[in-house]
C-alpha cells in the first residue's frame, strides 16, 4: 500500500496532462460553439485556423528571438501572442467578408455554410503549409519545467516522479483567465447580452435594433482570438505541426457537441470530459494499482482499457453516443 506514490503516478500521467489538454480543447470548443451560436453552422475550418494562429506565433517568436528579446523563464511566445491574435482575427474577418457574407446575403441554407467552411479549411490548411511548410517547428524556450520529475523525486523522496511543465501551467492559467473574461463579457456587458439575444432569437434581436453585421463581426473577433490562443498553446505545449491541428478537429467537435453545441459552459465541460476520457481510457493503470495493492496481488497485465492507438476513437465514440442519446448535449445546447 503506497498511496502517495500511486497519487503521484496518477497525477503525472492522467491529471496534469488531462488538465492541460482539456484546457486546449475547451478553448478550441469555445470558438466552435460561439460561431455555431451566432452563425448557426459548424465551422470545419477551426482546426486549421488554429494552425494559422500557431504559425503566426512561431514567426513572431523567431523574430523576437533574432532580436534577442526574451521573457527569461517564460516562453518568448507570450510576447508574440497578441500579434498572433490580431493576425488570426484579421484572417477570420477577411474570410467572413470575402466568403461567408455572400452566403448570408443570398440566405444560403445552413448546410451550404458547413460545406463552405470545409472549403475554407482546405484553403487555410494549404496556405499554412505553403508558408511555413509541413514539418514540425520548435519555438518553445525559457524554463521547460516548473517542477521536473527528477526534482520532484528528490524533493519528496517518492519513487514516482511528477512533472509539471511551464507550458502546462501557462495553458491552464490562460484558459481559466480567458474563460472567466468570456463569461463576464457574455453575461455582464451590454454587447455580450446583445450577442446572446441574437443567438437566442435572431428576428426578435433585429426588431430590438441590434445590428446583425456588428454581432457577427464581434463573434468572429472573439472566436478568432480564442482560436489563436488555443492554437499557440497547443503548439507550445506539444509541438507545432500544421497537420496535427486538422487531427485536433475531431476531439474539439466532440467536446463542443458533448457539452451542447452553442453553449459556452458546455464547451468547457465537454473539453475537460473528452480530454480525461481519452487519457483515462487509454492509460495503463498497472503502476498506480500496484502501488495501492499488497505485493501478493500485484497486477501482471497493463490494466489498460483501450490501446493508445485508439485514442481518437474515444472522442468519436463519445460523439456518436451523445448524438444518439442526447443530441442537445449535456448542457442543453441546440440539437446538432
Amino acid at each position: 500500500m503506497d498511496f502517495l506514490n500511486a497519487a503521484a503516478a496518477f497525477a503525472n500521467f492522467v491529471l496534469v496532462p488531462g488538465f492541460s489538454y482539456g484546457s486546449q480543447l475547451a478553448l478550441g470548443a469555445l470558438g466552435v460553439t460561439l460561431v455555431y451560436a451566432v452563425l448557426r453552422f459548424a465551422n470545419f475550418a477551426h482546426g486549421d485556423t488554429m494552425a494559422f494562429g500557431g504559425m503566426t506565433a512561431v514567426f513572431g517568436t523567431w523574430w523576437l528571438q533574432s532580436r534577442g528579446i526574451d521573457l527569461g523563464p517564460l516562453p518568448t511566445t507570450l510576447i508574440a501572442l497578441p500579434f498572433s491574435i490580431v493576425a488570426t482575427i484579421g484572417l477570420v474577418l477577411l474570410v467572413d467578408r470575402l466568403i461567408y457574407r455572400h452566403y448570408r446575403r443570398v440566405k444560403a441554407p445552413l448546410v451550404t455554410f458547413v460545406i463552405v467552411s470545409f472549403g475554407v479549411m482546405l484553403v487555410v490548411n494549404g496556405l499554412v503549409r505553403l508558408i511555413i511548410g509541413p514539418d514540425q517547428q520548435r519555438f518553445a524556450d525559457g524554463e521547460r519545467f516548473i517542477v521536473s520529475a527528477r526534482e520532484f523525486k528528490s524533493l519528496t523522496g517518492l519513487q514516482e516522479g511528477l512533472a509539471f511543465k511551464t507550458t502546462q501551467g501557462i495553458t491552464i492559467v490562460a484558459a481559466v483567465v480567458l474563460m472567466a473574461m468570456l463569461f463576464w463579457f457574455l453575461n455582464r456587458t451590454r454587447t455580450g447580452k446583445s450577442m446572446r439575444a441574437y443567438s437566442d432569437n435572431e428576428d426578435l434581436a433585429l426588431l430590438s435594433g441590434i445590428n446583425p453585421e456588428k454581432v457577427v463581426a464581434l463573434c468572429w473577433i472573439i472566436a478568432g482570438g480564442l482560436t489563436a490562443v488555443a492554437g499557440v498553446l497547443y503548439g507550445l505545449d506539444k509541438i507545432f505541426k500544421p497537420f496535427t491541428y486538422f487531427q485536433l478537429l475531431l476531439p474539439i467537435f466532440a467536446a463542443a457537441v458533448v457539452g451542447g453545441m452553442g453553449n459556452p459552459i458546455g464547451a468547457v465541460a465537454g473539453g475537460y470530459l473528452v480530454a480525461f476520457s481519452e487519457i483515462g481510457i487509454t492509460y495503463a493503470f498497472k503502476k498506480v494499482v500496484n502501488h495501492l495493492l499488497p505485493q501478493a496481488w500485484e497486477a501482471q497485465g497493463l490494466l489498460q482499457l483501450l490501446s493508445t492507438e485508439y485514442k481518437f476513437a474515444v472522442s468519436f465514440v463519445m460523439l456518436v453516443i451523445v448524438l444518439l442519446l442526447r443530441p442537445t448535449g449535456l448542457f442543453r445546447g441546440r440539437a446538432f
Binding site: 503516478a9 503525472n12 500521467f13 492522467v14 496532462p17 489538454y21 514539418d135 514540425q136 520548435r138 521547460r144 521536473s148 520529475a149 527528477r150 520532484f152 523525486k153 516522479g161 511528477l162 512533472a163 511543465k165 497547443y234 506539444k238 509541438i239 505541426k241 497537420f243 496535427t244 487531427q247 485536433l248 481519452e278 487519457i279 487509454t282 492509460y283 495503463a284 493503470f285 498497472k286 503502476k287 498506480v288 497493463l302 490494466l303 489498460q304 490501446s307 493508445t308 492507438e309 485514442k311
Partner: protein, 395 residues
C-alpha cells in the same frame, strides 16, 4: 518494301546475335521516382560503375561487355515495379537484376517476376526480415543486412551493458514492426525481458498517452524503433518530460545529428547502433564517384556496387550468364576461401576466376553472405556523449 523488311530482319538478327555473344545485360531496378528518389541515382551509379569496371578490364567472360538497363521500381508501387521488372526480363533480356530497393516492391518483384522467369536478383537496400524466409528458389540475395540482424546486435549491446528489462515502442509500419519483432525475439532468447511492445503512429502532436502506457510497464531503458524526425522524437521528448525513462536505445532510423539538436543534454548516455563498417575500402568508391560528379557518400551506394559486382563475378565463376547456372556461385564468390577482393579490383578477380581460382569478395561494404543469402552486416555501436554520437565499436 520487301528489301526494307529483309534489311531490318538482318539488322535485328545481327543485333541480337551480337548481344548473345559478347554483351551481357544487367537490370538495375530502383525507385528513380518516389520517396527515395534522392538516393537512387547514386545507387544506380554504383551498379553501373561495377559494370563499367568489368567491361574495361576485358577479362569478363572472354572479353564480353556488361551493359546496364535501368527500370523504375517507384519504391512503393508494387504493380509498377512488377511491370518494370517484367520489361527488363522479357523485352530487354537482362541476365540478372540489381534491385529492387524498398522491401515491399522487392518482395513483389521476387514473387511475380524473378521466380517465374528464373532470374537472379540482388537487392542493395531491402532490409525487411520477412525477405529472409520468402520462397526464392535460390534466386534472391541482398547486400544489405536484414533488420533481424540489427535486432540481434541491439540485443547483444543491451546484454553487454547489463540492461535486462526494456520497454519497446515502434513506428507502425513494416520497418518498425519487423525490427521490433526481431529485437524482441533476440532479446528474449538472450534472457532479457521486454515489458511491453507498443506501436506509435508518426505525425501526431502528442505522445504522452503512449509514454504513459510505456512508463506503466516500466523497464531500465526504452527502445525506440522509429524515425528521427517523426514519432520517435516525440516519444523520447514526452518520456523525458514525464520523467518516464532516462536511457534510450536508438536503432538506425533514430541516429543523426538532428535528434541531439532537438532533445539536448538529456540524451546523454543513450546508445544504439547503425549499419557501418570500419573498412576504408568504401573510400575508393567515393573517390571514383566524385570523379564522375556523383556524391558517393549517400547510403547504399556501396551495397549497389557490391550487388552488381557479385552478379558479374558469379557469372564469371560459372562461365555462364544464365541465372540457373550462376545462382549457386554467388555464395562462393562472396565468402571465404579465396583471394580478398576490394573495390577497383574486379579485373583481378575476374582473371583469378578465369584461371579457376577462388575469390572472397569483400567489396565496398565488407560483404559476407549468411543465411538465405543476405549480408551479415556490420554495425557501428554508438553512444551519445558530450552532445554527439561517439563510436564505441563495431559488431
Amino acid at each position: 518494301m520487301k528489301r526494307i523488311v529483309t534489311a531490318f530482319a538482318a539488322l535485328f538478327g545481327l543485333a541480337t546475335g551480337a548481344q548473345a555473344q559478347d554483351e551481357v545485360k544487367l537490370g538495375v531496378l530502383l525507385g528513380f521516382t518516389g520517396p527515395i528518389e534522392s538516393l537512387t541515382p547514386q545507387m544506380a551509379w554504383g551498379a553501373e560503375y561495377a559494370a563499367r569496371e568489368a567491361t574495361e578490364s576485358g577479362a569478363f567472360m572472354g572479353g564480353s561487355s556488361v551493359a546496364v538497363v535501368r527500370g523504375d521500381s517507384t519504391c512503393i508501387d508494387s504493380a509498377v515495379a512488377t511491370a518494370a521488372a517484367e520489361r527488363l526480363v522479357t523485352s530487354d533480356k537482362v541476365s540478372g537484376i540489381v534491385g529492387a530497393d524498398c522491401s515491399g516492391v522487392t518482395g513483389a518483384v521476387l514473387q511475380n517476376v524473378a521466380r517465374p522467369n528464373g532470374i537472379v536478383m540482388i537487392s542493395p537496400s531491402a532490409t525487411s526480415p520477412a525477405l529472409s524466409t520468402a520462397e526464392d528458389d535460390g534466386l534472391f540475395f541482398r547486400t544489405a543486412p536484414s533488420d533481424a540482424r540489427q535486432g540481434q546486435v541491439m540485443s547483444s549491446i543491451l546484454m553487454d551493458r547489463g540492461v535486462e528489462t526494456v520497454a519497446l515502442t515502434y513506428t507502425n509500419n513494416d520497418y518498425g514492426k519487423g525490427l521490433a519483432d526481431s529485437f524482441a525475439a533476440a532479446f528474449a532468447e538472450d534472457g532479457g525481458t521486454v515489458t511491453v511492445s507498443l506501436s506509435h503512429e508518426d505525425g501526431k502532436g502528442d505522445y504522452s498517452a503512449e509514454v504513459g502506457a510505456l512508463a506503466s510497464a516500466g523497464g531500465d531503458a526504452l527502445v525506440v524503433a522509429g524515425y528521427i524526425d517523426q514519432g520517435g522524437l516525440g516519444v523520447i521528448q514526452a518520456s523525458l518530460d514525464a520523467g518516464a525513462f532516462e536511457t534510450f536505445v536508438l536503432p538506425d532510423g533514430m541516429i543523426g545529428p538532428s535528434i541531439i539538436e532537438n532533445i539536448g543534454g538529456d540524451l546523454e548516455g543513450s546508445f544504439g547502433q547503425m549499419p557501418g563498417s570500419d573498412s576504408m575500402a568504401g573510400m575508393v568508391l567515393v573517390d571514383a564517384a566524385a570523379a564522375d560528379g556523383i556524391d558517393g557518400t549517400t547510403i547504399y551506394v556501396a551495397e549497389s556496387y557490391d550487388a552488381a559486382a557479385l552478379i558479374i563475378l558469379a557469372m564469371q565463376a560459372a562461365g555462364s550468364h544464365m541465372s540457373e547456372d550462376y545462382k549457386s556461385k554467388i555464395f562462393d564468390v562472396a565468402n571465404a576461401p579465396g583471394e580478398p577482393i576490394l573495390p577497383g579490383e574486379l579485373g583481378k578477380a575476374l582473371e583469378i576466376l578465369a584461371a579457376g581460382g577462388e575469390v572472397d569478395y569483400v567489396g565496398a561494404s565488407d560483404v559476407e553472405l549468411i543465411g538465405s543469402g543476405e549480408a551479415a552486416g556490420k554495425f557501428q555501436e554508438v553512444e551519445v556523449a558530450n552532445g554527439e554520437f561517439v563510436t564505441i565499436g563495431y559488431r
